[in-house]
Symmetry: C2
Subunit: 348 residues, 2 copies
Amino acid sequence: MTRIAIDAMGGDFAPKVTIEGAVWAAIDYNVPIELVGKEDVIKEELEKIQKKGLKVKAGFHSKRIKVDFSTLDIKITNANEVIEMGEAPGQAIRKKRNSSIVLAVNAVAADSSQAVVAAGSTGAAMASSLFGLGRLPGIERPAIAVTLPTMKKPFIMLDAGANSSCTPEMLYQFAIMGSVFAKNVYGRENPKIGILNIGEEAGKGNDLVQTTYKMLEENKDGLNFIGNVESKEIFYGNCDILICDGFSGNVVLKTIEGCSSMLFKMISQEFKHDLISIIIGLLAKPFMKKMYTRINYEEYGGALLLGVKGITIISHGRSSAYAIKNAIRVAKEAIETDVLKKIAAVYE
Amino acid sequence: MTRIAIDAMGGDFAPKVTIEGAVWAAIDYNVPIELVGKEDVIKEELEKIQKKGLKVKAGFHSKRIKVDFSTLDIKITNANEVIEMGEAPGQAIRKKRNSSIVLAVNAVAADSSQAVVAAGSTGAAMASSLFGLGRLPGIERPAIAVTLPTMKKPFIMLDAGANSSCTPEMLYQFAIMGSVFAKNVYGRENPKIGILNIGEEAGKGNDLVQTTYKMLEENKDGLNFIGNVESKEIFYGNCDILICDGFSGNVVLKTIEGCSSMLFKMISQEFKHDLISIIIGLLAKPFMKKMYTRINYEEYGGALLLGVKGITIISHGRSSAYAIKNAIRVAKEAIETDVLKKIAAVYE
């Protein structure tokens, strides 16, 4: 039986929202949960849910449901400390050995849970995973593999921010890990790998991408390399895996976040000028909502930290309960498809 | 009297659209123009405009106007060769000394024009500007300074793609050039300078941004450094200048382009499901258009290649006549505000 550990204290709206998301996942996916954090706080939140019911809110739809805890398998592991967002990750995980993220990762290391979901400090989640779980054989550094929506099917971008500086060898390993992930979790056959670059031609970009290009062209591991992909092209869904250093990947991720949020705000501003614009805005709203749902990152819930010996799902700091629920789904899929063992098999 | 040279053969829709934009600018801004390209082709296009009138299309508004060429000062300089998009820039400008971009830059070097607008190969425009005009004293490498819209006022990002790899010294110079530009061309007082980074804290990011951070903190040149800015924050308009290496900058630029184009396509798809959605879509269209105009890059026309001894404006390859017209406006403003002399003054 697989169980999924959640850092109940991690995230901008924790512990309330994190715990709600975990309870929701326990109901929807029938998955045992391990809530790691301050026991009294967690119990209090669970009691609130028992009394008032659980607010389930997906995108623009919202309702309150009654929860029968007797049918759910939710375990609490007490953790007295919390690593805050501003703390230096390396120091913090050494100093706060009883923090919720460290103990949540330890639960995976000790196999009491089989995956961990973390919406707190990304640095702390990474550091505790590296320290607590270790790296997969053959992998220098883990990468954050994030799923992004496009006009067609979503694709996986890695690294989305784990490593500010990368070597070509690391990018090559990201290609291998991404390929295994796309095949096994998303069922993509012979998944297409692109390098994020500022031009399509082979000679474009900095030394890192040029050298990586050459390595992938030699194509020793049967990877399906399709060449360079510009960031304006990624939204057409022509590649399954986009590899990049963590600085560029994080820039892409946050540009998408900022740009789409700006556009939605601008649209709603245009629909607020006068009575007619307000009425038309109300008529158009359901269509805008449908579109919003198509690109809503909450649907993808969390990004897998690929390359450590255990499943760590990193969620957005601003995760809603819905996003946490979906992150737990991603964790469950990663467990069921045995993706880590398949990555390790490449290097055997 | 200032004149502006245009590479008439550069751009995906050249020479037609480039020449239309130039004629439009000559009318709107009363500015003398030097069209550089194949003389017979240019003459043919001008004759067409004389016969049929000029189609002026800004965003979604379009009309045809009669042009009285006797009131316009348009000079033609013949150039037999054209540098194509795929060619290696360095080689191409040496081999094709009579290409339209090389001769357009030469016109600036010889002071027959005071600025050049180029919508063809960015690499060729850069290489010919570096070779033909030389660098400003104190500047290692020129940067592409692009203007980007936000919820509030637009900001300048540099480098948007001229240099795939940068040193901290180069980024520091970009800060100086950007600051002079923002002050003089956009009238920003004490313009705020941010570093594009993947976190706000001082220790975030790769070596390049960390070292640049320290250099800017010392603040030797009275620069108004406000720290790191994440790419999701840039759309709030909190900084006037965002500095970054050309790889990251180009990634930001093209992610915005791709992301907004995807969102507009998705919206129009939602308004095509059935009769009701089509009707509501038609009602909502004027509001979407207004919003589109707010973020339309064509309004900004072109990016200044800052750091060479002459004014080179680089326009998008897919520039419309309206974008070319606006690029010529940007060129005119750069001439009138004497921005290059003011940058040079910093290093005297």
